[in-house]
């Protein structure tokens, strides 16, 4: 019987017990949305996991074919709603490549700052959900508390809190208000203190260490083979960050580290994200120092038409590699096809590899550290 089990099994079966099936989701508190996991269980140990998607498929890529390019920017918000502002940029960069339009310096700074604020917000949600899924409901509220402050800033700048729909080819919809820089500065000062508390809350907590160290190990080879990206890939020891490997916007002018850890377990994925919050804060501080108060905040021309061609952009969102591929068959306002490569899908695909042999409680931990957003998978 033991010969049939996948490698990495922690509890070897000696007795001839009966396997049973558990359906987890789509209505389950810790599947982070409408995700369904079909589990083959031996007692509390997971033998096999099959994820099922598609419960909130909205056909965004098909919708995009009957929309203008600018309308699609609004749809990209609704994919990964936690990194909405970053998705906006991903689409806009692809369009800018075709429209052949330059971006003024101030607009680039606004972009980078909002990107990093969005990254911190998304990682705070990760912190919240990680703690919450481990059973510490208080973490859930703490993470969201600071995220609200970021959303207040986003609200002031973009007019909406979650689905920002802010960037446009050649700049953005509006200039930032005068209060933007002081608010970000105040937020960073506040964040310095609170991050210390938050790290003390989870990072060294013995129960958290017990529950996350050595759990859900994703090897470097597997992480690359499954196409993982972002913190999940970096936690497995691959130093790949689009901001560094293939810099977009003005990321090449900033001084920041790409945190990499090598165990590939849940705790490493957690520490990588916490380190990334600090790196984002570092980038934001550099932005504040160098932020140009004068100058245009968008380019003069406002193009809406894309010449015939294929355009590809990739950016690093908080979740990982977010790529947009635009095919323009005719020169016009509408695309022939827009394809999005989201970061969450490969992570869920690798889930089966990670959970085999672990307990059902560990599945919840592992799923939390993958930080998937299901609407982005289903689109």
């Amino acid at each position: 019987m033991t010969g049939m089990l996948p490698p990495g099994f922690r509890i070897q079966r000696e007795t001839n017990t009966e396997e049973f099936f558990i359906n987890m989701g789509p209505q389950h508190p810790s599947t982070h949305g409408a995700l369904r996991l079909a589990l083959r269980m031996d007692g509390e140990t997971i033998v096999e996991l099959v994820p099922h998607f598609g419960y909130i498929h909205r056909g965004m890529e098909k919708q995009a074919e009957s929309m203008s390019y600018l309308q699609y920017i609004a749809l990209s918000d609704r994919q990964d709603y936690l990194t909405a502002i970053q998705n906006n940029l991903g689409v806009v960069i692809a369009l800018e490549k075709g429209m052949n339009i330059g971006v003024p310096e101030k607009a680039e700074y606004i972009r980078v700052m909002l990107q990093e604020l969005g990254r911190i917000a998304s990682h705070l949600v990760f912190f919240a959900c990680f703690g919450g899924d481990l059973g510490g409901q208080t973490c859930l509220l703490y993470g969201f508390k600071e995220r609200e402050m970021i959303h207040d800033i986003l609200e002031e700048v973009t007019g909406s809190r979650l689905t920002t729909n802010f960037f446009r080819p050649g700049g953005s919809r509006y200039d930032v208000p005068d209060t933007f820089i002081p608010r970000v500065k105040a937020f960073l000062d506040h964040m310095d203190d609170t991050m210390k508390d938050y790290e003390r809350f989870l990072s060294k907590n013995i129960i958290v260490l017990e529950r996350s160290k050595g759990i859900g190990i994703l090897s470097k080879e597997d992480a690359i083979a499954y196409g993982c990206s972002g913190p999940v890939l970096r936690a497995s020891g691959v130093n790949f960050d689009v901001r560094r490997a293939n810099p977009y916007s003005i990321y090449d002018s900033f001084d920041f580290e790409v945190p990499v850890t090598y165990n590939g377990d849940c705790y490493d994925r957690y520490t990588v994200r916490i380190a990334e919050i600090h790196e984002s804060m570092k980038i934001l501080r550099q932005c504040i120092d160098r932020f140009p108060t004068e100058g245009p905040w968008r380019s003069k021309e406002k193009p809406v038409r894309l010449p015939v061609g294929r355009y590809y952009s990739e950016i690093e969102t908080a979740k990982g590699l977010y790529a947009t591929y635009v095919v323009a068959a005719t020169t016009g306002e509408k695309p022939y096809r827009i394809h999005t490569r989201g970061p969450s899908f490969p992570h869920i695909a690798a889930l089966n590899k990670m959970v085999q042999g672990h307990k059902i409680s560990d599945l919840v931990t592992i799923l939390a550290t993958l930080d998937p957003v299901i609407p982005e998978i289903d689109r």
Binding site: G135, Q137, T138, C139, L141, N205, I207, S361, V364
Partner: protein, 373 residues
């Protein structure tokens, strides 16, 4: 004449009152046996009402308290709309629970499904009857108090197992099995700490245990024995948290994993009973901790006469409930601070850590008694 083994002032008062009332009855109805039986029944009714009042009355207060403690730990306000600072919120919730339609899932074993919540309620009610709330306020002052508590306290797991099994739901079943393993394991530590208290105080009667802590704060068992008392208190705190199925040891419910565990399929009144049992267990375990370690209803005297006299003017009942609510507050703070261990880690913790430490503690306690005489 029927002489009850348990006496208390209220019981004696009723026993004296009954003959005075029956004196007005025709001679045919006057007999000492009848008087004693009537007095016994009246006393029983008073006791039942008292226990129910303490238990059921404390549940809404505790639910309100939990919401507020949890809210303030999490930097929010909690219920604020209904009544002053949301005080009526819990009552509204209780009413909602009571008026909800009760139904069982298809395929459930209906008899067991509806019996389970009642079984869960038995244990905390029985323990409550043994607790001395004040010098004269104890329902059943039995000589074998601690063994009875140990025996009764594990009864709740039967209800949880039945509820989980009869729900015909895999999550419920997993939760129930986890809970069964957990409670049976932690029962051992729980019993051992109580045995430690029995050993050092020399009695299994809860009133005697309380009276053995008479004096100043430093006569309470938590401080009276250097270091050992405090360790025993911490161990009791841990094992009673597990015993109550409260976070961080709430792996039986484990909302994030099992969507509610053994009570996933319950709603309305049966669910309210599970909920009630959880909170009454909180009261009884806190009361037990108070009785065994924090001096029960004794005032926290410090050995300085003017202060002690003032402290002693406050009735014992107030001190008792003050300590109980302090303990409850501790349980709540722990619940909202820690994350949940995994089920196998929980078992490891009990069998590989708590149990050996308890055995060492028992030995050390015996040594302390031998040395101090």
């Amino acid at each position: 004449m029927f002489v009850p083994s348990v006496t208390n002032p209220i019981g004696d008062f009723v026993r004296n009152l009954v003959p005075q009332v029956t004196a007005y009855l025709p001679v045919a109805f006057q007999s000492e046996t009848l008087d004693s039986v009537v007095a016994f029944l009246i006393n029983a009714v008073i006791c039942i009402i008292a226990v129910c009042a303490v238990n059921i009355g404390s549940a809404p207060i505790l639910i309100y308290m939990e919401r507020k403690v949890c809210a303030h730990v999490q930097c929010r306000l909690g219920p604020m709309r209904l009544g002053w600072h949301g005080t009526i919120q819990t009552i509204a919730d209780v009413l909602k629970m009571l008026f909800k339609e009760v139904y069982a899932p298809s395929g459930a074993d209906k008899l067991m499904f509806y019996t389970a919540p009642m079984i869960v309620l038995i244990a905390p009610f029985m323990v409550c009857a043994l607790i001395p709330f004040s010098k004269d306020l104890v329902v059943a002052d039995v000589s074998m108090g601690i063994p009875l508590i140990i025996a009764v306290n594990g009864f709740g797991v039967l209800g949880i197992l039945l509820g989980g099994w009869s729900s015909n739901n895999k999550y419920s079943l997993l939760g129930a099995l986890r809970s069964g393993a957990q409670i049976i394991s932690y029962e051992i530590s729980f019993a051992m700490i109580l045995l430690f208290v029995v050993m050092i105080s020399g009695s299994t009667n809860l009133m005697d245990i309380t009276m053995s802590q008479q004096g100043t704060v430093f006569d309470w068992w938590i401080f009276k024995i250097p270091v050992l008392g405090f360790i025993a208190f911490i161990l009791f705190f841990i094992s009673s948290t597990a015993e109550m199925n409260r976070a961080p040891f709430d792996i039986a419910e484990a909302e994030q994993e099992l969507t509610g565990g053994y009570h996933t399929e319950y709603n309305g009144t049966p669910f309210a009973m599970f909920y009630l049992a959880e909170y009454i267990a909180l009261v009884t375990n806190s009361a037990l901790a108070t009785t065994c370690f924090l001096g029960g209803f004794h005032a926290p005297c410090i050995g300085f006469a003017p202060v002690d006299n003032v402290l002693n003017m406050v009735p014992g009942l107030v001190w008792f409930f003050g300590k109980v609510f302090f303990m409850i507050w501790c349980y709540m703070m722990v619940r909202w601070t820690f994350v949940r261990p995994r089920v196998d880690q929980l078992m490891d913790f009990e069998w590989k850590f708590l149990l050996p430490v308890n055995l060492v503690l028992l030995t050390a306690g015996a040594a302390w008694i031998a040395i101090s005489g």
